[in-house]
Symmetry: D2
């Protein structure tokens, strides 16, 4: 894949949630509505099949189904980068090929799961997958799920030899990300660098991030678009003010108590999307617990306080 033809993923690139029917099947109608909502709000790209999309819980057939709907709903209005999450190189490469065939403009993947690998083996992993697909590969740095951190040296090595075209950073290591931004600039900006830390986008934009992958955009994308626009025009006070408003909405993820990380985060997003009418059901992926009524009520209250409930709907 040559960098020249690579699609650009900058600005707000939300990780698209996966609406489900109460039966557990994919709710294609809601998914189409969600994609349309995001693009209308002004996002510049779509991240399909990421953690917020609950991709780990779906079979490959379901993943392709989800991607197909996102692709057709986007209708060319925004490029799509798709997550290829599986255990190891051969398995992931096979999946990545299917995703590209189904219309992904780029693929993003992590280091292997379950295995005990060295940095050299991690490098080989990314090279194997990049070689297997006719689309740009990105690296997904998410130690909380993968249990290893991608080092600055490895990322720049993979950037400079053309293996990867971008990084989605959910590492929680802001100092490391700052060093990556500097190294990438010094090397002529071979990588597009997106942060996954949606509560500090103003700060990451000031530091030089190319964009953000905010799960909360599934609930309210307009704020992130305004925030990014303010950052782009150098209006940092406006960016911060918008970030603080967003963070106040983000409090929805702190309402569920006693549930798992997956149930809490995606659960809060789905409850809020449902309350706003963006999706028809807040059903979670099979195996993930649902929010209780109390948490949902608190989430609705936060939305109401921000005037984010539809007209005529009360918290």
């Amino acid at each position: 894949m040559t960098a020249t033809s690579a699609p650009v993923f900058t600005g707000v690139v939300p990780p698209v949630a996966t609406p489900l029917l109460p039966s557990g099947e994919i709710d294609h109608a809601s998914l189409e509505r969600l994609v349309d909502y995001l693009i209308t709000a002004g996002v510049k790209g779509l991240f399909a099949l990421g953690s917020t999309g609950e991709t780990a819980y779906f079979t490959d057939a379901q993943r392709l189904e989800i991607l197909a709907t996102i692709k057709s709903a986007a209708a060319g209005r925004a490029p799509i980068i798709a997550g290829a999450i599986d255990l190891t190189s051969a398995r992931t490469a096979a999946l990545a090929r299917q995703l590209v065939a189904a219309g992904a403009d780029a693929v993003v993947t992590t280091t292997p799961l379950y295995t005990l690998n060295s940095v050299a083996e991690h490098a080989a992993h990314f090279r194997t997958i990049a070689a297997a697909i006719d689309a740009p590969l990105w690296a997904y740095d998410i130690p909380v799920r993968v249990h290893s951190k991608l080092s600055l040296d490895l990322l720049m090595e993979l950037a400079l030899d053309g293996t990867i075209h971008g990084v989605k950073d959910s590492s929680g290591d802001d100092v490391g990300f700052r060093r990556l931004l500097a190294a990438n600039n010094a090397a002529g900006h071979p990588l597009q660098l997106l942060t996954g830390h949606e509560m500090v986008v103003d700060a990451m934009a000031l530091a030089g991030a190319d964009g953000v992958v905010p799960g909360l955009a599934n609930v309210e994308a307009e704020g992130y678009v305004r925030l990014w626009d303010a950052a782009e025009r150098g209006d940092w006070d406006a960016a911060r003010t918008e970030q603080e408003r967003i963070n106040s909405i983000f409090d929805i993820v702190f309402q569920p108590k006693g549930l798992s990380g997956d149930a809490t985060g995606v659960g809060a997003f789905k409850a809020a999307m449902h309350a706003r009418g963006i999706i028809d059901h807040a059903t979670m992926a099979a195996g993930v617990q649902s929010l209780d009524a109390n948490a949902v009520e608190k989430i609705r209250g936060i939305l109401a306080a921000h005037e984010l409930l539809p007209a005529g709907v009360s918290a």
Copy 2:
């Protein structure tokens, strides 16, 4: 699956390594020879598609190929428990069904990978998989790969409601395992409890383990069989003496330097199996680095010192 009809996995149940051709394809001839070696040495069951079998690196099609060869080579002489390693419940259940259809007498699986789940979600995961297969399910406790530890309470809950029939413990928590042994005994021994810690089998047998899953048995199974027999007849001094001999052979895994955990452990086993003529090639799974000549030489030296090289072969 009723417990009455469940196959028994006790004593020495080696995790069968996966011999590969230099091309990376499965070396069925070597695999058949390996299975025959293990059964002839007196092992009481076979653990197919575990970590030592490099299962994470194989596609589902390859996994079924591997299992089929183990099954046919075993020819009913030993029951087979097969690892079903995938991300989440639906994916793992589908794989587990395929494994049972291909002849696995039991299935063993871990908690989900990549996800952030609660204990309640872990319980649901095991229940979903157990309900999907017509064979006993075992739990695989291996925090070094899965990054969560199965609690005593969860295991006993799953034992008492019939979800799981055994545990393969590679948790590295000997105190926790001792408590599990006691709780299992107090509950009437619903679980078969195998340790994966092959350097302390004498101690685990004294503590009451039902068996062991020793990777090193791929290299020299006879020692583990003798060790277990000594333990069964209460000859603890003989058991310890045999364990100490085995541990001296186990030094092979400390010879490779600077490689990953997977390259080191399985790499040492494969190098030794190759040196002994049990398999034809020491090829590692795709993506895993190979031992250098120096490490292989040291491994051969250890084997020679224990008179484990074939007649006419020098270290």
Copy 3:
């Protein structure tokens, strides 16, 4: 310090708890009674100022006070090894000198706290302290508190150059301890190796440990003495039976709910010691929460079931 003159710490060497008055002051009368109880029960040495002794919570003046009472109560009937727990080398060496001056027959210490050190710096740390005292130094391997694990290579290096004379292993790494036992034997047994894992003493004795440091001996020392005697005469079935009885008593530490590690473990011991009349008050060190009445009641129930309450006292 020459090894020839070194005191021997083998068999049962309990970590002496620190009884306190309700005012928080040291309860010397109870401490004397405790020491007498332990020695009468047959223990072969005393570990003063360890984790069970809550040493981290005491000032250096209090520590010396505690040691003085243990020393005078022991009256030469058992050697005393004292914990020197402080941040770094200079501070710890100064404390260690004071402990030796106050009668400690040996000193045991950990790697530094708070700092970020290399293995070479850890080695220098032990050498600095060993050089500062006229008594044998031991290494205390307790990663759960110190957050680093002492490696086999480091321990054997320090053993072979005479820096350390023993190891108290509370690492929770039974495979690592087994390798240490083997390396120590191969080197001519320069180290005395005690395990801190009181629930698996039978297994550790079979593996070759020189002794055990059981916190529960503060509650009931006779069982550990019987267990160790059985192991010494090679009666492993008797050793296991005694271990299982002890483990059933050890359930007292699983009764408190929702408290910290320090409050739970030492709290359960002190509650049981108080119930048995060994100490006058179950007061915890300042800053550590007390057990609630429910936990104390359950602990008394466990003691009663084992007939460990004084005559005329009911659970």
Copy 4:
């Protein structure tokens, strides 16, 4: 301590390094020169006896010596907050009292070391120390050394009841710090919030931090003062440009190879301070390894490239 009379620590508050003579004794002349350099450069406060000051390696007597020199050299030109680092409440409170008696305007401390405590016990720890001193107490959140993270809920509880007056955040958790900033603002700003992450000060200032504790200021304080001034006047582009210049100097800490965290970070600072003539010797605290000549040369090269070597001195 009433908040009204509390000294203000905002803007650039460097953690003062501790210059040593080759003998290991404190180099008071260099320390005085360092303090004078910092204050002349425009810093607004001094953090004595922090991690950069290698405080863990010094005895209490040495700590008081260091503080006395900083106090007299500061001569009232900047308030001093002093680290009280010891194991537990009673020990730390005694030390904190001595620090206040020696002139500290405020004290900062961590959660206990070595112990296994609950959040409730952490709260009690801070309350015990606050009650023991007639000066404001701050909380030091540094999980990499203390191995526990101070939660938002605990910090705000301690803020609202007047126990703590500020937080020095070296947690590496920028999202958590952002939430703390928001909660503190919502509560009327009871806490002064300083970040220890010196590579992202522009971003932290944009987010609302009250100041920064930059170790690198020991090498070049003027840049941090300019950066903070730019941030205060809302010139975020200037702040970022200055941050990027500073980060390029900060590369000095990535030059040493194979050393510990303490040897590397403070070692690089001391080598650079020595090269610049701010201190007379780069001697490390006892027990910490020194940089090799190659690392020192690379550090001098970085300084030279930034024109930070004295006139007539070449890299």
